[in-house]
Structures are given as C-alpha cells and as structure tokens.
Amino acid sequence: MAAENNKNKSGAAAAFSGIGKNIAEIGTTFKEGDWKTRVSYLIMGFGPICRGAFLRGFMYLFCQAGIISWIAMYGWKYLSKLNTLGTVETAKVGRKTVYGDDSFLILLFGLLSLILVIALIALWRMNIAENRKEEEILKAGKKLPGNKRDFLSLFDSNFDKTLLALPVLGIFVFTVLPIIFMICVAFTNYDATHQSPSKLFTWVGLDNFKELLSFGPNGFGSTFVSVLLWTLVWAFFATFLDYFLGMAVAILINKKGIKFKKMWRTILVMTIAVPQFVSLLYLMKMFAKDGLINTYLMKWGWIQEAIPFWTNPMLARITIIVINIWIGIPYLMLIATGLLMNIPEDLYESAKIDGATPWQMFRHITLPYMLFVTGPYLLTQYTGNLNNFNVIFLLTQGGPKSMALAGGAGRTDLLVTWLYKITLNDTNYKMAAVIGIMVFIVTAVISLVVYNMLPSVKDEEGFQ
C-alpha cells in the first residue's frame, strides 16, 4: 500500500499540473460508466468484484475498509487536533493525575492519519481508473484477465510489487514517517518545558529557525557556524587523508617482492572487525592526559609535561583525525588493493620504457584511474563523514566545551553529535529538529554539487 502511495506521490507531481484533466476524467467516467462503476465511487472495488475480478476488487475494498475503520476508531481523535496539537491540559484530581492531550502522539498519529487519508484518495482515484479500464476492455468485446493470471502476475510482470511491498512499507513507517514528524517538530515549541504528556506543545512557525540564526551573545548562530565549519573540515580530512594514505599502504603491500601480503592485510583489517565501541573507548583512555601514552612518554623522558590530546581543542581535533586514519586506512586498503589489480599492467610497462619514475607513474596512471573509479565512493565517504557519529562520540563526546559555544556544543562536536546532545541531554527537540534539517541541507547541497562535477558522471564510458 505504501508502495502505491509512493508511486502516487511520484505521479502527484505530474498529476498536479493535470489536476483539471483528472477531475474531468472522474466526471466522464461517472457519466459514461454503468451502475457498477457508479457504485464503485462509494464502495471501492465494487465494479471489479461484480465483473469477476475478485482479487483486484477485494484489494480495493479491504484497503478502503481498513483505512476508514482505522481512522474512525483511532486516527480521528488525533487528526482532529492536528491544527492545535491538543488543548486539554493535564490536571490534578485530588492526588490523582489526569493526563490531558498528548501533543506528541497527536502529531505522530495525526500525521499518520493524514497520510492514510491521502493514500485513500489516491486509491480511490486508481479504483475509478480501474473501473474505466475494465469497462473499456469489455466494450471492446475482450475478456478481463482472470484472477489466477492476476495472482500469477505478482510473480512475473508485477514481481516488482511483490518484492518491494514490504521494504517500501518498512521504510515508510520507520524512516519516512519519523522524518516528516521531525521536520514538523522544527516548527513547534517542543522542548524541556513543553514535554508531553504533562505539558502541551504547539505550532510556532519559524521561531526556531530564527533562534538558530540569531547571532546575539546567547544565540545559536555563532555556535552553529563554528560547528558547521569544523564538520566540513573534519569530513574533508577524514575522507582524503584516509583515501591517500590507504592507497599508499595498498601500493606498499602490493609492491613486488613484499612477502606475507595476506598477513599485513589481516593485521590492518582488525580495526574493521573489532567493534568500534571497544577499540575507540580503549583509545580514548590511552590518549588521555593521564593515559598510557603520556605516562610512557614522560617516563622515558621524551616529554616534560603531558600532551593534552583531548583537552587542547586544536590537538583534540588533530588526534581525532589521526585516530580516524587508523580506522579508515584498512577500508581504503581493501578497496584499493582490488582496484589496483585492474589497472592494465602494460600501461606501467610502456611508461617504464619511456623512463617514467614511480612517482610519475603514480601521478599519471594510478591516481587518475583511482579517482575516476572511486569518485562516487569518495562522495559517499564525504557525506558519511559529515555524519560520522561514532568516532567523535566515543573519543571526545564533542569536548572540550567552551564558554564561547552555546547549546552545550564542544570544540570537536560535529553537527550530528551536537544534535544528539541537544536531543538527549537537553531534550530540546525543537532545536535538534532544526539542526537536523540543516544537516540535511548541507549534505544534500554538497552531494548535488560534487556529484555533477564527478568525471565518472560526466563521462560514463571514460575508463571502461
């Protein structure tokens, strides 16, 4: 059902322009249709059932019955309050607490109901088109496809519907709905002082966006800019340092005459296999001011004072990037190893004959090839690193903080870790939602711009 819903949304864009055409067709179908078709305007699927297409007919009927009864029994009480998000306050009767409207559930299930209503309208429209199609087939003197054929088509020409029904439904309920919900939260005053079910929250328009962009002494504005900049810088280093160093290690291991290739790779790959919460937490302790590294360096007399790996903002950022190299190299090493073998050996041979140095060969053969092939991967890596929660969270939790930053943000916070803190520590959901939308915008813009610049997109056949 959600699959249809999605598809209808795609149709929606086109249908929007031709909305008049649609209405006209609904009208003519009614005027020209027989009584079965006309009844179908009220009872969906009535026409197909009467004409013997039980499978289709009952599908429409069940969907209609299901959606209407769900909304009547459950959804309406939320849907009807969606405009205010509830008005009945929680009250005390004696010592007893009588909870009033729950703004959260009203918003969540109200949205769900709203989407179901839209789905119902779309289904209704499809039901009319179905009736018209059937009538036309019958008028032309042909036979309708039988139920068995209808059913079997689900495993053949309509196999895509069978395959996609559940995944699309799952994505709809557990990804699309929550995202729509949180986008809506960005326009409400849902925070620690408006916590459902004890308190109501309501729509406030663009206030939260204004707060994010307010550059006063306590505003979020300057903090947002500072966190955003670090996020971009971090993603850049995390992606490209890993990329080039990973490639270098792969070339090193691939070098002729190096033995135990498999062993070297296996050692590196350990960092992928060991769960990050184990390895990163241990590393966090290791680099602490009173941790192993500092203690040994001081014991050996290499340094006089402990190196503030985590407490100096600049150093903390560098340490994170370095540790991320430790995590990232193995992935790149694996990828590069596979790809390097695909480069035709004769390219190198002829270059050698021309007297090219290894660096020149790397610069003019290996690198262009790798960049071309892994362009899209680099892009996904970059956007992935923009949202790389684990590394930051497990190593510094965003710290060190500073007076100069609002909203509990720290010097190493990425937008996502900041978002997490605002959600969990401050339960300031409205600002979290706003920041979330900003993360989306940043990711989307970068993806769009870079994607269109990629050589492998511009020139699809290039190296193939």
Binding site: T90, G94, R95, K96, T97, V98, Y99, A192, T193, Q195, P197, S198, K199, P217, N218, K285, K289, D290, G291, T295, Q304, E305, A306, P308, T311, N312, P313, G399, P400, K401, S402, M403, A404, L405, G407, G408, G410, R411, L424, N425, D426, T427
Partner: protein, 449 residues
C-alpha cells in the same frame, strides 16, 4: 456439535463482558468509599512505620480489611550499587504490608543521572519510584515527572531529615521528594605516603609534583568548581516559582572574588600534577582526588593502607588572602512519579517513605556506606566514626547547600572550566580578561533562567 460450541463460547463471552462491567463498577464504588478511609489509613500506616515492626504489622493487618489497593507493578530505579539492597528492603516492606500484596515490584539499575533524563524523556514508561541527585529536581518538576510528597508524609519527612535535605527536596513551598542521603558533597581522598599535610592546596600540589603523582580535581564541572567560587565568597542563586520554573538569579561571579577564584583554578590547572577528573577507577598514579563518599570503597581499594581523607584544603589567593575551598553540599532524593491511579500512588508513597526511613537509611549506610540524611542515623556512633563521612561532615561546614540550577548552568560551567584547562584563560590573562570571561559567564547564566 459446532452450534453447541458456539453457544458456549457466546455465553462465556457475554458473562465475561458482564462480569467485566460489574467488577469495574464495584471497584469504582469501592475506591470512592476507600478514598475517605485512605487518608486515615495512610497516616496510621506511617506512624506505624516509625513504631516497632510488630505494631506495624498489626496496624497494617487492620488496614487490610478496609482498603483494597488493587493490583499493579511498581518499578523502582536506583543506582547499581543498591539494587540488591533495595530489593531486600522492598521484600521486607511487602512482608510487613499484606494489604499491598496485589503489587509486584521490579528494581532496575539506572544511575541517578540517567534516571532523571529518562523520566523526562518518557514519563509514562519511567519508573514509579526513582533515585536522583537533587540538582535534577526543578527539571523533573517542570517536566511533570515528579509527584508531591503525600500530605500525610510531609511532616515525618520534614522532622526526621536534616534541614538542608528537606530544603533540597522542596520547590516553592511543596515537598517533592524523599531525602535519602546527605552525602552528595566532595572532599579529599589522598595517599598518606605521598601527601603528609593535606591542609593547603599549594602544599598538596608541591608534594604531588615532587613525587611525580597526579592530583584529580574535576574543575570543568559546575559541581566541583563552585569549591573555588564559593570559597572566595561568590554567590550563585536562582529563585524558582512553585511550578519549578526559574524566575530570577543572583550571581556574583563577575567580581574581584570571582577573579581570585578563577585565577586559582588557572594556577591549579597549570601544575603538571593536575588532572581533571573525579572518578577513582579512571584515575591513574593518584596522589589525591577530590571525590565523594560513593567512591569510598573504590578509594580504599586504590590506596590500600595509605588511604586517608580530609576536608578540602585552603589556598592562598592572588590577593594574598587565605581561602577555604567550599563547594556544594548535595543530597540524593527518592521521587515518586505522578500516577493516574490513586491506590498505586498511595502504595508508592508508602514504599518511598519506607525506603527513606531511619531504619533503611541506617541499613543502607551499613551496606554501601551512603551518608544518611536522617538526623537519628547521622547521630549514630558508626556514622560519626566513619572516616570518609567525617571528612565530608567537616567539609560540609564550609559548603553551601545546593539549590536548583538550570541545565544551561552546568554546560556553561563546563565551558568555563574547559576554557581554563585548554588554556583559553591562562596565567598570562590579565584580571580584565578574567573579569570579562566571568561577566560573560554570569550574563549567560542569568539569561539561562
């Protein structure tokens, strides 16, 4: 045959529904009737709790015949260390109160900080009774996650616990929670073999530096760094109205006294022996650590025979005067969440009162060493001779009872502390720089209400 089965099914279904309606009606009238009795019964139960157990049983038995408390499950969240202890005590409580036999309980290990956060996130799924540090009180009240203490219990709680604890459980004029401990303060644990004289901060740092060992003081925490600011006489007060919302503030950090305190923090942070932290098991190579009683067992394990504790040291400020490090005196509280069932609320109230009673506080001290808020237990010989608790008691003379502070205060204080540790504010900063930082801090804190 089929028809017969159908008929039987129908009949049972109908009886079922009728019985359902019937019992509901009966139950509701019963509760109505019970309500009038409930108050007297509860007070009876409470006085009973103070009296000997045998008497309590007798009274409870008597109550049993008049009030039906129904059934339910009570969920309790306490810190890991007292989960088993709490289970044991609830068993005792349940055994003494057969009228609550319809209730089962479950005790889950949720640390005090987490508990408050969870309660605020989703109060309906949260625990019915939960332990939390008192600084979360206003936040919980604002979020509607705390019920007031039952009127019949208020007097008992107020008279039996120390005034600070009662104050810490109060918002406006309402008592919102049951005090459990008065030990949420900090003092100094140290290694006797390294630190011979813990009376001055300078002395401690010198001795630790000489031995190449670490001194832990979590100066980037709004809870620990008040030791400096309160020590030099700064004020940090927020007023709250009866709903738990902050209505005003009186913060004097941006003053000469504040600058002295901040400069002392900077000096401390500059020492090679200084480490920022307050958790015994995360500390290495420790000479001394500023920490609370909850870590006393761990500290004993760590220091072994050299274990010692003392009140916080004094320090000589940049103005040449000597100041005693101060700090917060804090409390742990037990809260009951709002209920839509009065009977369950009554049971929760009775249980919370019991879990914060003299008897249980005494037992809890014996089991895990938590310092009691109950006056009688505080006066007991065992508590008085406890090394950690007496160090705390000595320190408490210099501390300020912790009030309510908005969430932003804590993160701002961490920001201030981190600015010291990271060197944004350092030895070269002029008094004007420090004053400007403190002014910004004060303004932000004042705006946070």
């Amino acid at each position: 045959m089929k028809k017969k089965i159908l008929a039987v099914l129908l009949a049972t279904a109908m009886v079922g529904t009728m019985a359902g309606c019937g019992s509901e009606e009966v139950a509701s009238t019963a509760t109505d009737a019970a309500q009038t009795v409930a108050d007297t019964a509860d007070t009876a139960a409470d006085t009973a709790a103070q009296a000997a157990d045998a008497v309590a049983d007798a009274v409870a038995d008597a109550v049993d015949t008049t009030v039906d408390y129904g059934t339910g499950e009570i969920k309790v969240w306490v810190a890991e260390a007292v989960v088993d202890f709490t289970k044991e005590k609830i068993d005792t409580f349940m055994a003494a109160h057969p009228e609550f036999s319809g209730y089962t309980y479950v005790v889950e290990a949720v640390g005090e900080g987490d508990a408050a956060g969870n309660m605020i996130t989703d109060v309906t799924a949260g625990a019915d009774i939960f332990g939390f540090p008192q600084d979360q009180l206003a936040r919980l009240v604002v979020a509607g996650a705390l019920e007031t203490v039952a009127p019949e219990n208020v007097d008992a709680v107020r008279t039996q616990n120390d005034a600070g604890a009662v104050g810490a459980a109060t918002v406006g004029d309402e008592l919102y929670a049951y005090p459990v401990t008065s030990d949420n303060g900090y003092f100094l644990y140290y290694d006797k073999s390294v630190i011979s004289d813990p009376s001055t901060l300078e002395g401690i740092m010198e001795q630790a530096e000489a031995a190449g060992k670490n001194v832990y003081f979590e100066i980037n925490s709004g809870w620990y760094n008040t030791a400096f600011f309160f020590g030099t006489g700064c004020k940090l007060d927020y007023s709250i109205d009866s709903t738990g919302a902050f209505s005003g503030s009186d913060i004097t950090y941006a003053s000469d006294a504040g600058v002295v305190a901040l400069r002392e923090m900077i000096d401390l942070a500059a020492s090679p022996s200084f480490q920022n932290g307050s958790s015994v098991s995360n500390a290495t190579n420790v000479a001394a650590i500023v920490d609370g009683t909850w870590d006393s067992t761990a500290a004993k394990d760590l220091f072994g025979d050299n274990y010692a504790c003392a009140k916080l040291p004094t320090f000589t400020g940049s103005d040449g005067k000597t100041y005693q490090l101060s700090g917060f005196g804090g409390f742990k509280l037990l809260g009951v969440k709002p209920q839509d069932d009065e009977n369950k609320l009554a049971v929760c109230d009775a249980l919370a009162l019991y879990l914060s009673s003299e008897e249980v506080q005494q037992a809890r001290y014996e089991a895990v060493g938590w310092g009691p808020s109950n006056l009688n237990v505080q006066a007991s010989a065992a508590v008085k001779s406890d090394e950690a608790l007496s160090a705390l008691a000595e320190q408490l003379a210099f501390t300020i009872p912790q009030g309510q502070y908005p969430g932003d205060y804590w993160s701002l204080a961490t920001g201030l502390g981190d600015d010291v540790i990271t060197g944004v504010l350092n030895k070269d900063s002029s008094d004007d720089d420090l004053m400007a930082a403190l002014q910004a801090f004060t303004d932000a804190c004042a705006a946070a209400k």
